[in-house]
Symmetry: C2
């Protein structure tokens, strides 16, 4: 793994459009401005208040409400909306995409780009789905920052037969943002993310919900004494509800499969606690330290 | 909530002994040295390598291997071993405790201090169980630091009838370390901690274990792409295995009760994912944001 420093892009686009300018979209806009990734950088969002903030922040050359208008003349279109909007965004922009335009996205489930965007695009357009493994629990254009992608991976899942030069132009955007780029099969991506991201979020959302339902006298103290453990879960469970709704709906099979495995493992520990089997508990807890060491060594801690 | 600044203690002890000098014990030793909490500060540990590091770190006046020898002449004894050692430590030190000595601890389950320490102590000794809500995933004397307790809560669970002046002397140690002190019923403490700390740790240990058991080709990528979600779980699941084994064995009923509630809530979300019920998912995820805001406002984030 070599970490790439943020830098100027070698072959800039003419007109780059980011559709959906929340936490990830606005971070990418900032990173692209820094790397001078396109002569004109356009932010497009369906929300009036988001567009207002985008103008005030001054991180784009143009702000657009209408995706069809935004993509006219664009040679790069980046879809950064929740997954549930992919099909309608693709339908809106498809008739207005010029020949050779590259379309990519930043979504957490790559099957969705293949299923909801690909079939709606004209044949003269290139689709290179992408997913930056980065983000915080914050939402909206104010929460974005150019450094978000530095030292993080970005996974691209181009369909078989995609022109290597096209993939390289998308990869260049991410490398200029400081990311390392990896090419992967979309189904494999969705399986890996089910365990590294989707299942942890599901569990965090659940446990924080369980705490929310506690008897009143316990609830206040749960907040007060949240140090160590719970507060990390609440941070994760503060992530955008619509974005996460769509992730679970779109990666259903992989998430349910991993949840099934989790249930099995939890049952073993539950039984060990119930019967007082300290050896099983200690052996399990000692084993999980190793995977943490791997993450620290891989500089993703 | 008023945050107290670290400061010198007003009425220092003559000889303070910390038994068990790992992450929490050694942090407390450092904080007590800074606040000049006792004229002589003694670190006692059963492990030769830990004692060796304790001497090298120079954070105590004396290092002792034998708990009985360590507590002779002490007016303050702080038990900071894993919970499983409480009964044997109490039995070792009991015959050597002078009249009026204050015994306290730092363990995560307060019933254990009541059950395993209290009945073994002579009548002329005061027991004030305590629990600082602080800590990192690191272990051992090198990982401790004096600032660990600053801005965090410390819960004391003195038995009914304990002299208020005695409780105050223990509270003074923690306030001088920068903590806010709260008095609580031990059973109530154990319930609150079951949801804020013990259950999150159990789940983190489980999910990291589930990932450890993945097929080899997935496992390497779980480490590589651990950003967002999973890496927080691996940090939690890197905590000391023996300490956590003992916590689960000692707070069994409260942990199993909270785990039962978690199962119910998880089943609801699991079903929503399976049947594609986005409204239920979104409503749940929106609700959990509120509890995060409470934690941020309580300055425990």
């Amino acid at each position: 793994m070599t970490e790439t420093e943020p830098r100027k892009i070698e072959r800039p686009f003419t007109r780059a459009v980011v559709i959906g300018t929340g936490h990830i979209g606005s971070s990418l806009l900032r990173a692209m401005r820094r790397s001078q990734a396109a002569r004109t950088i356009v932010g497009c969002d369906a929300s009036e208040s988001v567009r207002q903030r985008l103008s005030e922040l001054g991180i784009v050359d143009h702000v657009e409400a209408d995706a069809a208008a935004a993509v006219r003349g664009a040679d790069l279109v980046i879809v950064a909306t929740p997954l549930g909007a992919y099909a309608s965004v693709a339908a809106q922009i498809a008739p207005h995409l010029g020949s050779g335009t590259i379309v990519t996205d930043v979504g957490s489930v790559k099957r969705t780009a293949i299923r909801d965007i690909a079939p709606r695009l004209p044949a003269h357009v290139h689709l290179v789905p992408g997913h930056p493994i980065a983000g915080t629990e914050h939402s909206g254009p104010d929460s974005g920052f150019a450094e978000l992608f530095e030292g993080r991976w970005c996974i691209l899942t181009p369909p078989a037969g995609t022109d290597a030069a096209v993939v390289e132009r998308v990869a260049a955007i991410w490398r200029a943002a400081g990311s390392m780029v990896e090419i992967m099969d979309p189904d494999h991506h969705d399986q890996v993310l089910a365990i590294t991201s989707h299942l942890p979020h599901l569990i965090a959302y659940t446990i924080v919900g369980t705490a929310t339902d506690l008897e009143e006298h316990l609830k206040a103290e749960v907040i007060r004494y949240s140090a160590s453990g719970f507060r990390d879960f609440t941070r994760i469970a503060a992530s955008d509800p619509v974005m996460w709704r769509d992730i679970f709906l779109n990666n259903r099979d992989a998430v349910l499969e991993m949840l099934g495995r989790l249930y099995e493992d939890l049952a073993i520990l539950q039984r060990a606690i119930r019967v007082g089997d300290g050896d099983t508990l200690e052996a399990h807890f000692a084993r999980t330290r190793a995977i943490r060491r791997g993450i620290v060594e891989a500089k993703q801690a």
